[in-house]
Amino acid sequence: MSQTVIRADFSAIAKWIKPQSTLLDLGCGDGEFLEYIRAQKNVRTYGVEISDFSVLACVEKGLDVIQQDLEAGLALFENQSFDMVVLSQTLQTIHETESILKEIVRVGKECVISFPNFAHWSHRIDILLGRMPVSKSLPYDWYNTPNVRVLTIADFEALASQIGIKIIDRVVLHEGKELSWGVNLLGSLAIYRVQSA
């Protein structure tokens, strides 16, 4: 992968990852992030994926990948057995939101959670105009979206404190650029570093 097309969230996440650490990427897709982070930090990585196609893509890249449904929990992984667990733009596709959040902070000493922010101003305008938003961060129509939850930065932070998840760090991006104010209005992608409280 060339430097120029690296997703902005990858480099934001990479800053939180220590070299030679262990990392579990939940919903790793075709292993794009894993391949990137292995080259950057020399970490021991595993991916978890449900799709046959994505598992195959990971095997082709020589990545360790475990085929399973995240909805089924993380019984394969022991408590605090990874330095970092990553749930990158996957939370909004999971039905069992609370249980997966509790599971990842059980397994990871630290965790990264990222998701598209539904409260971005352009989405708000779409809703005002009476239509479900379709944007760069939410590129699907209501009838074909893999997302089963829509959430905002404020929503996530409320739930995190409710279920015992401590937020260590937060980066909010729009168009690849980090924002420092008005994040729930201006941000399209939220990335959190969290751990069990």
Partner: protein, 378 residues
């Protein structure tokens, strides 16, 4: 693409082999078949381990019997395990009935067939004997050891017994030990054989008979467990065995009524023609005994701590004889030790048999895994 380059060997070993049971085999021979070319550094060898009723004849057509190798869809030029790049070795396990030393062989001490006196061999003993085959070819380290079912147990055991001598273990449709249900099926099969009046306590060779009835039942019960319920429903349903166009009326008899009966009887008959009853007993017992966690107080993670190789674990969703959760136990134990492991759970309708069948998703994973491995070699 080049040819399969099949080579057959009967390798004689005269150094005694100490068995797990405490017994030893003074001398023995193993039937071996190889495919492809061993490279000059001897780094491209893949050992393929067989399950219950298979043999060293893994791929291609046998020139004498004209039979196709049991994993021909997987192994050969251009196949997922590509013999254009890998040197593949098939070994007929000790105690089996396809030419390697086993119960049918002559015991040098008595000049009679071993029969029931052939020592019980274990998965670990097979692995030890396979290591000697590697020595014979001058192979210090296998690129991979691969097997399905009982063959997968051997692949796993290779990782435990010879961690320095195997780079990749491919453990397919397997388990780290048999469940009680699984042992129970084996016991029914053994009981069928041992209660056949033609069994003569294992010394039926002297009476010039074979316990065919027992073997038939053993195979029938085995076959049911290799298929999924859906698979059987699709293949046979409640169809009656009738000539085409004849009415599907019951005949009110115990003759073959249903298609599924006809199939099982045919499979049983065919099996009784070629398989040795003592071998069946011995191999099912080896299956029952395999349990690498046993000496670790049942802690599989501890048992797999020694593994250095990378592993590919594959299971099939409808396999209830070696169900996916049994494969996940292996995956978990490897993860606990932070060993390199990939796990694919193939959604296939064919039950345990799926590991022998040509399923596109399954073969794509194996192909990708080997082509990745090939890049590591060069």
């Amino acid at each position: 693409m080049t040819g399969l380059n099949t080579q057959s060997y009967t390798i004689q070993f005269n150094e005694p082999l100490a068995l797990k049971s405490g017994a030893q085999l003074g001398s023995y021979s193993l039937e071996v078949q190889t495919y492809g070319q061993l490279n000059s550094l001897k780094t491209n060898a893949v050992l393929v381990c067989h399950a219950l009723n298979a043999s060293h004849h893994v791929a291609g057509k046998d020139p004498t019997t004209n039979q196709t190798g049991w994993w021909d869809n997987m192994i050969g030029p251009g196949k997922p395990l590509d013999t254009d790049h890998f040197f593949v070795i098939g070994v007929n396990n000790l105690g089996s009935c396809f030419g390697s030393t086993g119960p049918m062989s002559i015991d040098p001490a008595t000049q009679k067939p071993y029969g029931s006196t052939f020592p019980l061999v274990t998965v670990e003993d097979w692995v030890d004997s396979q290591a000697r085959v590697a020595d014979h070819f001058g192979i210090q380290k296998f690129a991979a050891v691969m097997g399905g079912s009982l063959g997968g147990m051997q692949a796993l055991s290779w990782g435990i017994q010879y961690p320095q001598r195997v780079a990749h273990c491919l453990i397919i449709a397997s388990a780290a030990n048999l469940s009680a249900q699984n042992i129970a099926f084996n016991e029914i099969a053994r009981n069928a054989i041992m209660s056949d009046p033609d069994f003569y306590e294992g010394n039926y060779y002297a009476h010039e008979v074979t316990p065919r009835r027992g073997l038939r039942v053993a195979r029938m019960i085995g076959h049911i467990t290799y298929l999924s319920n859906d698979d059987m429903a699709e293949k046979f349903g409640r169809e009656l065995k009738r000539i085409k166009g004849a009415p599907q009326d019951y005949q009110f008899s115990f003759d073959t009524e249903f298609e599924v009966e006809s199939y099982l009887r045919y499979q049983g008959e065919k099996f009784a023609d070629y398989f040795d009853a003592n071998t069946y007993l011995l191999i099912t017992r080896a299956l029952d005994y395999f349990d690498p966690a046993k000496t670790m107080g049942g802690d599989l993670s501890k048992a797999l701590e020694v593994i250095q190789s990378k592993s590919l674990v594959v299971s099939f969703t409808t396999d209830w004889r070696f169900a996916p959760e049994r494969s996940r136990e292996i995956v978990k134990a490897l993860l606990d030790n932070k060993r390199s492991v990939t796990y694919a759970e193939i959604d296939a309708p064919h039950g345990h048999d799926a590991f022998l069948l040509d399923d596109a998703r399954y073969h794509a994973i194996i192909r990708a895994y080997f082509s990745r491995m090939q890049k590591e070699l060069t």
